[in-house]
Symmetry: C2
């Protein structure tokens, strides 16, 4: 028997209309690429989204299912694109501006973008590849300064595009399973793969991450979105903020530590998101130049890679600002878990608490996870047994865009994350490695992540990346590359081995240590181990 409840599709339009009705005076603040500050309300945002949607239909001939690219920083126009494009049934494809020209070209041709909205400061990146883009008919330039010129053909300025359009619209009826957004993985192996989100998955993800066990956001918050809108929809925050009535602050290209601190101070931001390297930079800058007045910032949500326990501890001790570890992937919309302490942890020592908080945490409702061992068996939740992390849920992909390749999916329908992890008896998941980064030495697994964490807790080590190198006797052995905080204070191999022996078994401790000036990073700021392995293969990593 059916329930007798109204048919109410979960779409981005329902989110936009909700904010218009419940939080018309809440603010979207943008620090634009040219350094000016822009502010308007969610009421104004809604009206401009209508104008944009009307322009897409009337001037650009966009219809349902069309793919529209964005190549832009975080700012109000990009938020308008997040709603205006899917609002009429088209797909908002956010393109990562940090990929190589070759990858960018591949992505745009593969997704068949019809129009690209591009920030004026980023136009040079597209000019280089424009002749090879097969499907793009028009470029819409955002934030163009006076006298802006470009070699791109068929351009129009964003404000020109929307200025003469009505600021109301009758949104079309959409099916909540229609696609609303697309993002490509950053592809550390091979070409990026496309991930197509639905209205429903976007709504449910946003509705879940605001909950107290997850991000804990309300209409009392002012949130700085440091995660770029071209990275997995800025973790869904541009949708979430309209559901909560949180004020949203956008930094565009002002992502250097000093710039972020200036915005935190100016806008009285109390919550923020971002990858660990951003927060490491902010912490160091705060240590160098302590703020005159305590920051309003209470908490930052971290994903992308693991927070080190030392950063969490120091940030909290020195500035009273709390780091919350979360985990997710492009394929999981992205957020799937977060790690917060519970009442029963109140009496633990600080060190024990930090150990729990450094885990990736408990899954959100709507997400299921399991760890599957080499033997194909589901691993016990004992906090020790490692295996591949597999997930399913209401915002996890069932396939990649335009491919029938099922390598990343199990026969019983779970997504294979490629992460190696454990789950403990309390349900906290901890990533111990990427499957391809695991070190198997003499038949035993060694976690490169655990070694890196421990090394980075050393007072004179800023960064550490561990890879497997071939070994005749043990098949593989770990090699640690380290970046010193102070290059005048080198650390001997013996010292490091002794330091690690507190926490690791002998066989787990690397035999090789190489000091480097910086760890190579991917376009999303993760350690690029493929690059480190290449350096090793080329004989460039000598002790």
């Amino acid at each position: 028997m059916n329930g007798l409840i109204m048919d109410y599709p979960l779409t981005t339009n329902t989110i936009l209309n909700y904010a218009k009705s419940a939080f018309p005076d809440k603010k979207l603040i943008s620090h634009l690429p040219n350094g000016t500050r822009h502010e308007y309300t969610y009421g104004a945002l809604e009206r401009r989204c209508c104008q944009l949607a009307n322009a897409l239909k009337n001037k650009l001939g966009i219809t349902k299912g069309d793919m529209i690219g964005t190549f832009a920083w975080n700012h109000y126009q990009h938020v308008e694109l997040y709603y205006g494009i899917p609002g009429i049934g088209a797909i908002c494809h956010t393109i990562n501006i940090r990929l190589s020209s070759q990858q960018t070209e591949f992505i745009i041709n593969h997704s068949e973008d019809k129009v690209i909205f591009v920030d004026a400061t980023l136009v040079p990146l597209l000019e280089k590849i424009a002749p090879k883009l097969e499907t793009v008919e028009k470029y819409i330039i955002i934030n163009a300064h006076d006298g802006f010129t470009t070699s791109l053909l068929n351009t129009i300025h964003y404000e020109k595009l929307i200025e003469d359009q009505l600021d109301t619209i009758q949104w079309p009826k959409l099916n909540e399973n229609d696609a609303c957004g697309m993002c490509y993985t950053s592809g550390t192996t091979g070409m990026p793969k496309g991930v197509l989100y639905s209205h429903r998955s976007t709504y449910l993800h946003a509705m879940t991450i605001l909950s107290p066990n997850a991000g804990n956001y309300s209409n009392d918050d002012i949130i700085l979105l440091i995660v770029p809108q071209f990275h997995v929809m800025a973790w869904g925050f541009p949708y979430m903020c309209l559901l909560t009535g949180s004020d949203m602050v956008m930094p565009s290209l002002h992502l250097q530590p000093e710039a972020i601190i200036r915005i935190l101070e100016l806008e009285k931001v109390n919550k923020a998101n971002g990858v660990p390297s951003i927060w490491m930079g902010v912490y160091e800058e705060l240590k160098k130049n302590p703020p005159k007045k305590k920051l309003a910032l209470e908490e930052y949500l971290v994903g992308g890679s693991a927070l080190t326990a030392s950063l969490v501890e120091n940030f909290e001790k020195d500035f009273g600002i709390k780091g919350v570890q979360a985990w997710g992937m492009t394929e999981t919309s992205p957020l799937g878990t977060a790690s917060r302490l519970q009442k029963k942890h109140k009496d633990l020592t600080l060190k024990e608490q930090l150990k729990i908080r450094a885990k990736q945490g408990i899954e959100f409702p709507g997400i299921e996870m399991r760890v599957v061992g080499d033997n194909g068996q589901i691993a016990p939740r004992d906090g020790r047994t490692m295996g591949e992390l597999q997930v399913k849920g209401a915002w996890v992909i069932k396939s990649y865009f335009k491919t029938n390749n099922r390598d990343n999916f199990t026969d019983d329908g779970w997504f294979r994350t490629g992460d190696v992890s454990t789950i403990d008896a309390d349900g906290y998941m901890e990533i111990t490695d990427r499957t391809k980064d695991l070190i198997k030495s003499g038949g035993e697994w060694i976690s490169s992540v655990a070694l890196e964490s421990a090394l980075m807790a050393h007072p004179n080590i800023k960064e550490a990346a561990v890879i497997a190198v071939p070994d005749k006797k043990w098949a593989e052995r770990p090699l640690a590359t380290i970046v010193l905080t102070d290059i005048n204070k080198p650390i001997s191999k013996e010292e490091l081995k002794k330091y690690l022996s507190k926490d690791f078994a002998n066989y787990q401790i690397p035999d090789y240590y190489v000091t480097i000036s910086q760890v190579p990073k991917t376009s999303v700021g993760k350690f690029d181990k493929k690059e480190i392995r290449k350096l090793y293969a080329e004989g460039k990593l000598k002790q």
Copy 2:
């Protein structure tokens, strides 16, 4: 174009499985009818739900779409029914134990309950009507004491039913739009009407009410569910607590103020729900017998009727416990709005803040609301213009069970609440009356709720209910019935008129005041104005 996201139906089974995985050690604590305390974990709950589901299928032959009645207090067995019944596709029909025999008989026959799960203490209520129940094949007795006997035919004890069943199950694949629960309205006019919830509406409602702008619940909370499970699924809390990992405390029939306070103390409860009359009673008892140690209780969520500003103020001032006003109806699952202050309200005076907090508040995402005036126009959001409150959303009904009557629905698909309200510029909705309780005097509307609130703020008035009485000149005039706090301190008509003249225009002030010993109440504790009008018509309300 479709999104490429997994098909993941939102069902009560996903909630149960989530709690099993994420919060296996969280607790469900029951204070049973016989006074004993029972406690187990969500892990144990899940296993017993499997046993129950197996028993329903194997022993009672229950199949998809079957209607199963519950006639029970709040306790763990009732929570098991909330999951075990819908888990196999049957419908959990919670029957209000406080209705008249005639209404109960009507409801059970109308819904065609096949089996009824009944608390031993409530069996006498069913024995009276059992011969007239046309569809009930079996009664399952919960919490029966030794030597329990009954005239009901075909009975079996709950523990007997499930004890030999497997504690694992392969739940069937359900469509999220399948019905999962049913509740009848309390029906102040005519016979109760059936409201059929879907798995999807139940999930979305539960997921929304835990958000910080609404109830704000997390795995740090211990929540006392005072709202009976036979009232609109206890406001969705038995589902919500498993999504948040909050501990759940169930009082069964221990609903007297002293009993509630004892449970609050014993279980260190920090949040709770309930109707205003419960909280009024708890407050008075706390005043009489102040607790030795400050209660852990931080906040209580109130719905059903309006909290008076004076109760909110005194509870907070005297005991540091905060009341949060919410609003909803059986037809809206029930929760649709809540009233919390925002940052911009921080600098208001206490009185101004209380005025906002006494409103019904801002709608949750997933709910839309509008006020429609006599002229059929949507009223402006000015906090003044009154009209009928209409709602739609993801957990609002589109029709009643087994009827084609469309009186409660507009042509464009909104549900007509029958409440008269305003919405202010900040989006806060305030109920000013029920449409049928509004007083229209000389062409002007007078809000009986506003008068009642003001009267109840008088130090010597405990309760006040205002009805319209016929008047030759003005068509209608308000008549106030009042219950004194101290019967030895009567208040004169002149005194009351003067008292009200601070806040009301002359034409709004009642001419008639009648002191009564108590205000007649409906089965859900609301003022029964139908009964008061009847007393008036019978000449029993004399000044």
